[in-house]
Symmetry: C2
Subunit: 474 residues, 2 copies
């Protein structure tokens, strides 16, 4: 394809995207397809002829879009917000257009240094001290795995340089809470710790936050049993209820055993753009690493996950490779991001942040976040004051966890079935989307506010839908 052919097709595609976004509220939130439906719209064999761009756009409309769950729809309240502000989409497009190869400083100095600047801007915007060094990863799952590997190597004095984890005599232990994201346990398993060496620390029964006294007890028991506490992952905003593990207390407990502390603020990191929210991660300056996702509530299009570490030299000692074919005259003065994580090659992801910060600006982002916090509080009030409804967890952020108790029904399998049924009825209709999750006493439904175009009237509409759904569900 020549640049002129690209120009013509590109203009059509921009219009297609603008039209799609402008009409996002007209499409069902949850894709109305069954497994296999989309696959069946494509040939089983690879095509032997080419298509016109017009035909390809028509194919997007007929074969792809019906299978897209519209997370930019204002009635999407599932999982967490996955905003893709159009400013950041432009940054993503610029990144594709520049088509850099991020394998070394030399292969794209701009890719490296704009990433440095954006990580530093974001550090300042979230109130972190200048002792933190940041880089962009695909997801917080990967960031957590990187942190866990650093913790492993710190606890073993860089065992990777000798016998690896298999050469370590005393078992290393990882601590987190049962409310932490599933990626924490996954990272611990991939890092080689094993299920037997993951300690799930009890949470407070009301706040669902990790109980630091229980953490201290478990660590003392493990040390007495000849084990080595290696890593604690504190969730700042759990996925279920956005519970806030008490970072300061956790850091204090961990410091007694020289344990690495990773703060998983995937969701709540965005809130730290608001000074009034920063008390939620009090103590974070005592942690060893932090990850959070601008690609959630902040609205930088996926993928854009920040990982900050305090000891970047240690990180590089674990991740560095310096093969002859990647050496360059720039030497030590240049940052080599390949030595800060798992993949060698990287995209020019920092442009998404640059575009969003330049075009939308921080103040507008902050105003949107405050709108969402107020909307969540309003929604919490409605639920709290309605008969049969319960707010199941503190609303620290923008997610409201709810349950409806039909007459005579209490916690148990019957209520679980009922709860999932009414949420699924709303989802299946395409009119709104909510996700369900479990608490120790059963299933609840999460109303996660924060899509860029969600306003108060959308929440009013949702509240009406929910009240209808619980009454129509048998």
């Amino acid at each position: 394809m020549t640049p002129e052919e690209f120009r013509e097709a590109g203009h059509q595609l921009i219009d297609w995207i603008a039209d799609s976004r402008a009409s996002v509220h007209e499409k069902p939130v949850l894709a109305q397809v069954q497994p296999g439906d989309i696959r069946a719209r494509f040939e089983a064999d690879p095509p032997s002829s080419t298509s016109s761009f017009e035909a390809l756009l028509a194919e997007l409309d007929s074969s792809v879009v019906p299978g897209v769950t519209q997370v930019q729809n204002p009635m999407h309240f599932g999982w967490f917000p996955s905003n893709a502000t159009l400013s950041s989409v432009l940054g993503d497009i610029a990144s594709s257009g520049i088509a850099s190869l991020g394998i070394s400083w030399e292969s794209s100095p701009a890719l490296t240094e704009v990433e440095e600047v954006m990580c530093d801007w974001m550090r300042q915007l979230t109130g972190l001290s200048d002792t933190w060094s940041g880089s962009i990863h695909d997801t917080a799952s990967t960031g957590c795995l990187v942190a866990m590997l650093v913790a492993r190597e710190r606890a073993t004095g860089l065992s990777q340089n000798s016998g690896g984890l298999q050469g370590v005599a005393e078992p290393l232990v990882v601590y987190t809470s049962p409310q932490a994201h599933s990626s924490v346990a996954k990272a611990a398993l991939l890092a080689g710790f094993g299920w037997d060496n993951i300690q799930m620390v009890d949470v407070d029964p009301v706040s669902f936050a990790m109980n630091p006294d229980k953490l201290a007890e478990l660590m003392a028991q493990d040390v007495a049993a000849g084990k080595v506490p290696a890593c604690v992952v504190a969730a700042v905003g759990t996925t279920g209820t956005t519970a806030m593990d008490p970072v300061a207390d956790i850091v204090e407990v961990a410091s007694k055993h020289d344990v690495f502390v990773h703060v998983d603020a995937a969701m709540a990191g965005t809130a730290m753009l608001l000074p009034e929210c920063r008390h939620l991660w009090d103590g974070v300056e005592g942690a060893d690493s932090i990850s959070w996702n601008p690609h959630k509530w902040m609205g930088t299009i996926l993928d854009c996950s920040l990982l900050y570490v305090r000891d970047v030299d240690l990180l590089q000692r674990i991740m560095a490779t310096n093969p002859s074919y990647l050496q360059s005259p720039s030497g030590d003065e240049a940052t080599q991001y390949r030595d800060w994580g798992i993949p060698l090659g990287r995209r020019f992801r920092s442009l998404k942040l640059l575009f969003q910060l330049r075009l939308d600006g921080v103040e507008a982002i902050q105003a949107r976040l405050r709108r969402d916090l107020a909307n969540a509080k309003w929604f919490e009030d409605q639920v709290q004051n309605a008969d049969g409804w319960k707010v199941c967890a503190p609303v620290d952020l923008q997610t409201v966890c709810v349950r409806y108790y039909p007459d005579g029904m209490t916690e148990g399998p019957e209520l679980d079935t009922f709860t999932q049924a009414w949420a699924q009825a709303i989802n299946a209709s395409g009119a709104a989307f909510l996700s369900s999750s479990t608490l120790p006493d059963g299933w609840m439904v999460r109303v996660s506010v924060g899509v860029e175009v969600t306003e108060r009237h959308h929440l009013e509409q949702l509240w009406k839908l929910m009240q209808e759904a619980v009454h129509q569900t048998p």
Copy 2:
């Protein structure tokens, strides 16, 4: 930013990209900046005001583009080709525009199922049997780590479900060659094996391919010493010289000890689009996993790395998480790609392949690859027939490794300095870019043919530049 504001800015950006690509040959190949130069063009503090889109485009021109090494320039012969065909750039733009959230089948059925279809089309196009299941990852480094984790768990009967690698009594060993990519050793270290348990198998002194007899010897020695051979990584196209490890022989050796075989065909996978090249990975059907990068020579814009595994159930048993907040009514019938790799969330990367295959078509891609193979052969001929020059490795693919011997100079530190100096002189000029690498007897320079717009006359020009450079280098 509203859809209408996006539309206006998007059209400007498309023109900017088309103009940039049309003039790529006018820009220096290697960015003409020093470490810190680009960083210094940005404010130290995050901006408190917003910019117009015009001002942002001007900033791209003034502060970003000067720091971009132009890997799409026809005179780029460094590393490996990092083509970004404009058809795949359009696919990337469509992906950004659709802005799907890839965390489960339900969150974007189309993202999941188009990825399934594209992986299957690519499987067929590279002549693999239908016993392989594919998924898209960011890079082959990540693919290799995933493979290594599967190998680790297979060799230990899923130790992650109990004591992890720390509970394993007999050390597991990984085998690869010193010519394999640096990401192989990195993956082994991250997976916890430790340097002491990485065996670097000798290569053939002429072809630089792994010697399978040496592999058999090492495995037998390790077994005799009470160790457990767990994984062999065979490079199909090493990074230095595109050497081809003999997959069939390696599979035969590995099968005697039930060892997992991962084929790293990051670069050479593209060649398998040509039936006449498939002998280069003879025996691949006996391997357990294969990764290769359409984002290199094939020209799908980075990031797009394919990972095929034979035992997808095993992969899922190792990578699966099924927390309550991700469960959905679609259940087991739907593919959940989060259980096929490390990150939970994924972009809609398969659109890049769909667009490239639909718009450019396979035949045009094949014709371009054949042009590049012929150009590399032509270049090899020039070098072989010129006084003082030597081709240092077999040209199995599109990379020609060369050295120039000034009068009286033989292998040693003096020649190494000279070799790096003339390559750096060309690179620093911005007229062309070559990367250097080492062989057992010293440094050489790699001419890696295959940029989309590189034609014979560019190679003629490069050959002239090289002859001038060696005569002008002291």
